[in-house]
Amino acid sequence: MIHQAPILTIATLLLTAFWVPIIGMFKKESAYYIALAAIFIAFAAACGTLYSVLLHGPIHYHMGGWPPPWGIEFVIDYLNAGVLVLIALISFLTTISAKKSVEQEINRDKWPAFWSLYLLLIMSLMGMTETGDMFNMYVYLEVSSLTAYGLIAMGEDGALIASFNYVILGSVGASFYLLGVGYLYIVTGSLNMADLYRLMPGLYHSKVVFTAFAFFMVGIGIKMGLFPLHVWLPDAYTRAPSAISALIAPTMTKVSAYVLFRIILSVFHIQFSTMIIPAAKLLMWIAAVGIIYGSIMAIAQKDIKRMLAYSSISQIGYIVLGLALANRMGLIGGALHIFSHAFAKGCLFMVAMAIVYKTGIRNIDEFKDLNKKMPFTMAAFCVAALSMVGVPPTAGFFSKWYLVLGTISGRHWLMTAVILASSLLNAIYFFRIIEKTYFSSFLGGGGHGHHKTPTVVMTEAPAMMVIPILLMAVGILAVGLFNFQIIHHLLQFIVPGGLA
């Protein structure tokens, strides 16, 4: 059974997604529970996959029994086993907490279709993580885009335009990716990643390979919201239904970031982007500008979801920076940041979802006394915010630590400064919210300290929403405290041999 785990993750979600609308025709409420059960099974299967990888090493799963490079294979090694579990876990928690919010924001008639697309989105993200075939990756990329277009369009006023812009840019991105695949195919004749990796050194100086690389970067860059290709992201995250923001923000960009890792590290060799062409250097600068740009834009926002979206752009920069540093610490830091940021951003968007669900407030200026209304939610918010700022012992600190080590050991002092400055910028916009929420009861009221406490009744979001949020907060701390275990068992293997 365990050796079928990789395909079970996909198959469960796929089959359920087909049945959800049919069963949903008779009983709309059941759609959610079926979806939840499916995601749970997929999560279990993902855990099984990870277990098997840890025990027996990387898994090669040949679809239909055709060996690569003729058939399609799933390759699950240490990095993507981790990402797989991450995606499964976060989707599972988000799904639990999303129920009420979806019921509030989405018309009842649309639930079955909604949950079906929701399942397919998660399925495609898992597929992107597992596959070892370039073209198969493209298909998943398109499934994830298509489902996301539909789901984002279900949001508030303006979501249609946000979604349409995403359609245009997403298609450009996917098409560029497809062109990249075509260019590689034309000079290698292969679509299998491992096969390409083997063939690549002989083709380093081919202009075709270089062009393919550029198209991959742009294509995936659009998908992951890398500056300056991020233009679709803030609107899409802001306008989408809260539950969808909470799902795609931590998972979709992270999976795309993972794909970038995969392509740079295990399709092209890392030496290609550092020695042959100056891609690493260029990416590093793009990432640095993106980090600062995202942070500054986030400071300027009033809407919490939009602020978080810009913060995502900045955090994506961290991941790319780690990759672009192309040394041991940098790569580990970048990869760890996939994990720590997924938890932190997931938690933050879930908090935003709970706040919107319970109070309808989106504007940060109205957050006053929210801590008394929703103490647990806001506590989780604080933990996640501290992780974003990079305060130990949260996960964000440790990824930042490795990134700083990476920049220093590569002697990129300016990049060190960028990371450190950005954590201060993050502090500005997160502490602004914390200040508004916790410490502004008497602001503008005049007088000194000891007034009567204003009576604010606690109206916490339902337990089903809050418990996953708290679990995410625990996850942030767990990733932080056990980061060495994650690195030791999963991430250290991504560092190619001979890299300092």
């Binding site: 073209f135 369009a153 303006g158 298609s171 450009v172």
Partner: protein
């Protein structure tokens, strides 16, 4: 001249693709953007399919295939064009159609909501 003629398939696809790409990012009319997207995707399909061709090759269906087995070694590879790009493009065509479908659905909704398909007018209404 030889150089240009030898690679004319690429020049054609690049020209097509750029027309589509320009329409996607420069046109304000949403429908025109979608048309641009279709041209773009068609260009990629053209590109892929042209990879598969071989001079003197025929369609990728085994000749003389009966119920008796044909020894793999006896098949002349150069005789048939490469089937793989065709397969890939079958998928890509379907994807293209699906994206177009969703995009058109969005346009319908946008038109219902804003009474226009011109991007700048919609943005004006939104702000």
């Amino acid at each position: 001249m030889e150089f240009f003629l030898g690679k004319f398939n690429y020049w054609v696809y690049i020209a097509m693709m750029m027309i589509g790409f320009y329409a996607m990012i420069a046109k304000h009319n949403l429908v025109k953007k979608i048309i641009g997207m279709n041209i773009f995707q068609t260009a990629i399909i053209l590109f892929y399919v042209s990879i598969g061709t071989k001079k003197g090759g025929t369609i990728p269906i085994l000749e003389g295939a009966g119920h008796h087995a044909v020894a793999p070694e006896s098949i002349n590879v150069a005789h048939y064009i490469n089937p793989l790009p065709h397969v890939l493009m079958l998928t890509a065509i379907v994807v293209g159609v699906s994206v177009t479908g969703v995009a058109l659905a969005l346009i319908i909704l946008i038109y219902k909501r804003y009474n226009t398909v011109e991007e700048d007018e919609i943005l004006r209404q939104l702000s």
